[in-house]
């Protein structure tokens, strides 16, 4: 019992996984109902076309035979002829309109979903972000949401339309011959159950894995492309290729199984219709022999059954792959669960005082989920507004974590972090972004022009301002020599630039802003001594009147010392080991 309930909390059911997305669909229920109605109209027109045609031909033949035998007989040819033409046109037009209308609905929904997912991502903090792989996210936004379009168009509307068609056919037949009506209702009812629930169970496991497997393959390909230099150097490209091939053959094994299961369902649709055809004809023939049913109606019945084929044929393939929709929904649910709930902010939002911001850490500890040891242990220090603190320490000592805490990107596991007397996490994200600037260790540049990357900091900045900021980081001459100047594209993640250039561009971007607290994580990494000195002097001017924390390995390590340091602390393995005022000599 306990076992079952534990399992229940881990393993969410199909319906529960899809529920949030069904609710989202329900917001557009009028469009969806209209779409389903158009689908039903198409299927019923096909039914009407075949049934009336069968009836009409047989009635004509019977009348013709009677006339030939000299018996006076008449047949109204205009009403059935008109009905045949009407059904023929309705079927074509309603199908076209239905498909277009429904796809537009779905794509509108998809655009909304993509935005919703990106907004969810944008709310994640460093804890959640560090657990994900960029290539997985790509899949989240595109493939997962695309898979969910199957919900309405392939999984919700078709079984409903099939049920309508089954009921309509059963009633049509039952009016003239109840036994035939019941036969159709029972056989197709059972078949409908198989084509939906049965096929879904058959393909659930394999189709549920598909998205994740393709994702793994994509991740593997990205690794291979990005790491080709090392793989080629070590001659281990073939080994990595073999890994990709193993992933691929696992995917193909599932695709083969799913394809064959869907083919089985499709073949069964034809067989079920065939059995019904023979059965209904047999019942009709006996009723006709007993003079309970006219000839034309006896023919109309099996012909009408043929039309059910169209309503049932779409089901098996769609339901065999229902696991794909489920997996996609589960992954998206997962991501939404991770985005931090905006805690109810107790009192009216407190604003830190204007101007340079004081900073304090009180017995702050920080643990990453799943990590072995705390990154920070009982760290305390204060820095008055306008001063410049160097936080020294080896890589892995916890410097970047202090920076992330002050920038509100992480919450302390224990203790108190304050910026201008307010916890950074209690500030509105916009206010935080405006007043606190952080230069991260890893520089993010976007696949756009130099100008676009700089204007991220200030969309209104003029070209002259951009040039000034490039001048400040000694990149202006280099940029001026580029054929495309500020319009030069920097490539994915700034790959078209050298490491030092990317770093300086990030600094230039930062200096276009006007923050009150500046956190610089290894500002001069990858720069040569001359460049570092040039950048340091312009950085010094810009930092005037702001509170600054530099995160560096050590001071007095050559020409790479940050400018104007007034205080210094040293972090060693997550602990503060000494604190001293530091005055720069000469």
């Amino acid at each position: 019992m306990a076992e079952a309930s534990r399992k229940g909390t881990r393993e969410v059911g199909l319906i529960a996984s899809l529920a949030p997305w069904l609710m989202l669909l329900a917001r557009r229920r009028r469009r969806l109902l209209a779409g389903a109605a158009l689908m039903a109209l198409t299927v019923l027109s096909a039914l009407g076309l075949l049934a009336v045609s069968g009836w009409f031909i047989t009635a004509s033949a019977v009348t013709g035979l009677a006339l030939a035998a000299g018996v006076a007989a008449t047949l109204d040819v205009y009403v059935p002829g008109g009905a045949i033409r009407l059904f023929a046109v309705t079927r074509t037009v309603s199908r076209y309109v239905e498909r277009l209308y429904n796809h537009d609905t779905i794509l509108r929904l998809l655009a909304d979903l993509r935005v919703r997912m990106f907004a969810t991502l944008a709310r994640l903090d460093d804890h959640a972000l560090s657990q994900r792989r960029a290539s997985e996210w790509l899949n989240r936004l595109t493939a997962d949401i695309d898979v969910l379009d199957a919900l309405f168009l392939r999984l919700l509307a078709p079984p409903v339309v099939a049920l309508l068609a089954i009921i309509a056919t059963s009633v049509l037949l039952g009016v003239w011959l109840p036994s035939a009506g019941w036969l159709v209702l029972v056989v197709t009812g059972v078949a409908l159950g198989w084509f939906t629930v049965g096929q879904a169970r058959l393909g659930m496991a394999a189709s549920r894995r598909q998205v994740a497997q393709l994702d793994a393959l994509r991740g593997g390909v990205i690794e291979q492309l990005q790491g080709l230099a090392e793989l080629e150097a070590y001659g281990t490209l073939a080994g990595h290729r073999a890994t990709l091939e193993r992933l691929e053959s696992r995917i193909q094994c599932d695709q083969r199984r799913l394809g064959r299961q869907a083919a089985l369902g499709n073949a069964l649709v034809g067989a079920v219709i065939g059995v019904l055809l023979a059965g209904v004809l047999w019942l009709g023939a006996r009723a006709h022999a007993a003079d309970l049913l006219s000839g034309p109606l006896m023919v109309m019945m099996p012909v009408a059954v043929l039309a059910l084929n169209e309503a049932l044929a779409v089901l098996p393939a769609a339901f065999t792959r229902v696991g794909a929709s489920r997996a996609a929904a589960e992954r998206l649910n997962d991501l939404e669960d991770q985005s931090p709930r905006q805690g109810a902010r107790s009192e009216a939002l407190r604003q830190p005082p204007p101007g340079a911001l004081a900073v304090s850490l009180e017995r702050v500890s920080l643990c990453y989920p799943g990590s072995l040891e705390p990154v920070l242990r009982q760290v305390s220090f204060r820095l008055a507004a306008g001063r410049r603190l160097a936080v020294c320490g080896a890589s892995g000592a916890g410097k970047s974590s202090v920076a992330a805490l002050l920038a509100g990107r992480l919450s302390p596991t224990d203790g108190r972090v304050q910026v201008g007397g307010v916890a950074p996490r209690d500030l509105e994200p916009e206010v935080l972004a405006e007043r606190v600037a952080l230069l991260t260790q890893r520089v993010d540049l976007f696949d756009a022009s130099l100008a676009d990357n700089l204007r991220l900091a200030d969309p209104q900045a003029s070209d002259a301002q951009l040039w000034r900021s490039l001048e400040a980081v000694a990149l202006a001459d280099w940029a001026d020599a580029l054929p495309a100047g500020l319009a030069t594209r920097v490539g994915e993640g700034g790959r078209q630039l050298s490491g030092g250039q990317a770093r300086r561009l990030a600094l230039a971007r930062l200096m276009l802003r006007d923050p009150d607290l500046v956190l610089l994580d290894e500002p001069f990494a990858g720069l040569d001594a001359d460049t570092a000195q040039r950048v340091a002097s312009s950085l010094d001017r810009w930092l005037e009147g702001r509170t600054v924390l530099f995160f560096v390995h050590a001071l007095r390590d050559g020409p790479f010392d940050p400018p104007g340091v007034t205080d210094m602390v040293t972090l060693d393995d997550g602990e503060l080991c000494n604190r001293s005022d530091y005055f720069r000599m000469g």
Binding site: S53, T58, R95, A122, R133, S135, G235, N266, G274, P483
Partner: protein, 571 residues
């Protein structure tokens, strides 16, 4: 080793697809045979139905029970037909699985030939998307469209044959409707194909746009730009919707046109047969119409159009495959730079003791002009050569040239025969897998003890001791879970694992603190003592101190300014 493809005999999407499918001719043929059998069995089923009805309604009607063999036949057809249908789908599927596997292998081979420098200028997520999604997009074309293409010709002909035998005038009605269908489909298909190609470009742009923003989401948050970025995502997604709708409007039109003609033809036939049976039509074969022939003609009419309808439903598979194939073929038509991966230029291989020799070598990047050289350089066995110079002067390019990732644009670059080398740049590779997986990239056969030793040499010994899962500890993409310095040292550990005589290092200590930097330098010295040659691009004074020789590159031109500094004479 690399056989550059010439663009003038460049591959086209159609030729490439045709070549792939030709290799699966037998499976596609099997699918066609199964489809043909299923179709013929359907004709038989409908014939039996019409015969039964005609017999049951004949003036001297026999009792239904007397007709049981015909009813039994009606049922006996079903399992056979189901089997044939299943066989058609399964054979087509198998063919498409094989085609996709082969296409992916060909693309990966080609990208490996193009090399790391070519790839650095590309969006690897877009490329990976092409290799995964766009290769998957070939599925329907091979599995369904190709067999259906043949069936759409054979089955209507067979159907028409039966109708001609029953009533040639009815056959004429079908024939009149038929020629319009391929005509309309061709017209509509051409437009749909172009739109589909645009849509693929849109999908690739959308994923590139997204992954770029996701990678940089921290920066977007820090700059308070997430709201703007979210609305940019909306614009991109909405653009995708509008493109899709344009494609779909045409794609659906082709099947609508087909259905319109099919419906009209069936309606006309029903009315013709009805009037014929009533005796209103006295022309041609009409007076000879019976209930059997009339009903059979009517039942066959939808079957005449069914294979064409199926073809038009799979038409978007074709358009999707061609659209995908164009993007893929564009990749296949990219040529590696001359001399990439091989000795380049005239002249002889380097003298014994030399690993790589450059003579008057230059390298230019598109849009950036000459970034290196002309440069003369010999890398000698066992030496430590330090390359310095302000950032952007071509230090990385020199290392790429020595590695063979780029060829010289002029001058020569010769490598010793069978030269293997180790590589470390500023963005070390971290694969999604265990710590051991990451180390074995350098040497797949290395045992655990060797892995542990290499970690210790790279200064990761302490970290390793602290890991409860040891070598099985999972690591993520781009070293999530490891700091920048740790990731760098992991890549260094790989170098210790390999036995390459030449080690190319691009700023190996850029993100290390003094202590671990000193560890690394010590280890690099051990490497040099083992007789390996190190070429190091760096600004680090302690690394410069290791140099046997120093090469200083000048700003802007990438020319060597100072050269050959004896050991110890550093600044």
């Amino acid at each position: 080793m690399a056989t550059p493809r010439h663009t003038d005999d460049g591959l086209t999407a159609r030729r490439w697809l045709a070549g792939l499918i030709a290799q699966e001719r037998r499976l596609v043929g099997l699918a066609v045979a199964c489809g043909l059998l299923a179709g013929v069995l359907t004709f038989a089923q409908l014939g039996l139905l019409a015969w039964l009805v005609a017999t049951l309604l004949a003036p001297e009607a026999s009792a239904p029970s007397a007709l049981w063999p015909a009813f039994a036949g009606l049922l006996a057809v079903l399992p056979l037909r189901a089997l044939a249908q299943w066989g058609q789908e399964a054979a087509g599927l198998e063919a498409s699985l094989r085609v996709r596997r082969r296409a992916r292998a060909e693309l990966l081979d080609h990208l490996a030939r193009l090399g790391p420098v070519w790839l650095a200028g590309r969006h690897s997520a877009s490329l990976a998307n092409q290799l995964v999604e766009q290769v998957e997009a070939l599925e329907g074309y091979v599995a369904r469209f190709q067999p259906q293409l043949t069936l759409a010709l054979l089955l209507p002909l067979a159907c028409l044959g039966i109708v001609v035998w029953l009533d040639w005038l009815a056959a004429l009605f079908l024939l009149l409707a038929a020629p319009f269908i391929p005509l309309f489909m061709a017209l509509v298909g051409m437009g749909a194909e172009r739109l589909n190609r645009d849509q693929f470009a849109a999908v690739a742009r959308l994923s590139g746009h997204f992954i770029d923003r996701v990678r940089g989401i921290t920066t977007l948050q820090l700059f308070g730009r997430t709201r703007q970025a979210t609305s940019e995502v909306h614009v991109a997604a909405d653009d995708y919707r509008r493109r899709s709708m344009r494609t779909l409007r045409l794609a659906f039109l082709s099947s609508a046109v087909l259905e319109f003609f099919a419906s009209i033809a069936i309606a006309v036939l029903a009315i013709y047969v009805g009037f014929g049976l009533l005796g209103y039509i006295t022309y041609g074969p009409s007076p000879a119409l019976t209930l059997f022939s009339g009903l059979y003609v009517l039942l066959l009419a939808p079957e005449f159009f069914q294979p064409l309808r199926a073809l038009s439903q799979h038409y978007h598979d074709r358009a999707a495959a061609l659209g995908a194939a164009e993007g893929l073929v564009a990749l296949l038509n990219e040529t590696p730079t001359a001399g990439r991966g091989a000795d380049a230029g005239p002249g002889s291989p380097p003298a014994p003791g030399m690993l790589v020799s450059l003579r008057e070598a230059t390298v230019a990047h598109a849009g950036r002009g000459q970034v290196l050289g002309p440069l003369d350089l010999d890398v000698v066995k066992g030496e430590v050569l330090v390359v310095t110079g302000p950032s952007g002067t071509g230090k990385s390019t020199l290392l790429q040239l020595l590695a063979g990732f780029v060829g010289p644009d002029s001058g020569t670059c010769h490598r010793a025969a069978e030269l293997s080398f180790a590589w470390l740049d500023q963005r070390p590779l971290l694969v999604h897998g265990s710590l051991a997986d990451n180390l074995r990239l350098a040497s797949p056969e290395a045992d655990d003890a060797m892995l542990v030793r290499s970690l210790a040499k790279a200064g990761l010994g302490e970290l390793f001791e602290a890991l409860p899962e040891g070598l099985a500890t999972p690591l993520g993409e781009r070293g999530v879970g490891l700091s920048g310095g740790q990731a760098q040292r992991l890549a260094l550990a790989r170098i210790f694992l390999s036995d390459a005589p030449l080690v190319l290092l691009d700023e190996p200590t850029a993100s290390l603190d003094t202590a671990s930097g000193a560890n690394v330098i010590e280890a690099l010295e051990r490497l040099a003592e083992e007789g390996r040659a190190l070429v190091i691009a760096t600004h680090h004074p302690a690394l410069m101190a290791m140099a046997h020789r120093r090469l200083s590159l000048e700003p802007q031109t990438g020319r060597a300014a100072a050269y050959a500094t004896p050991r110890g004479e550093h600044g």
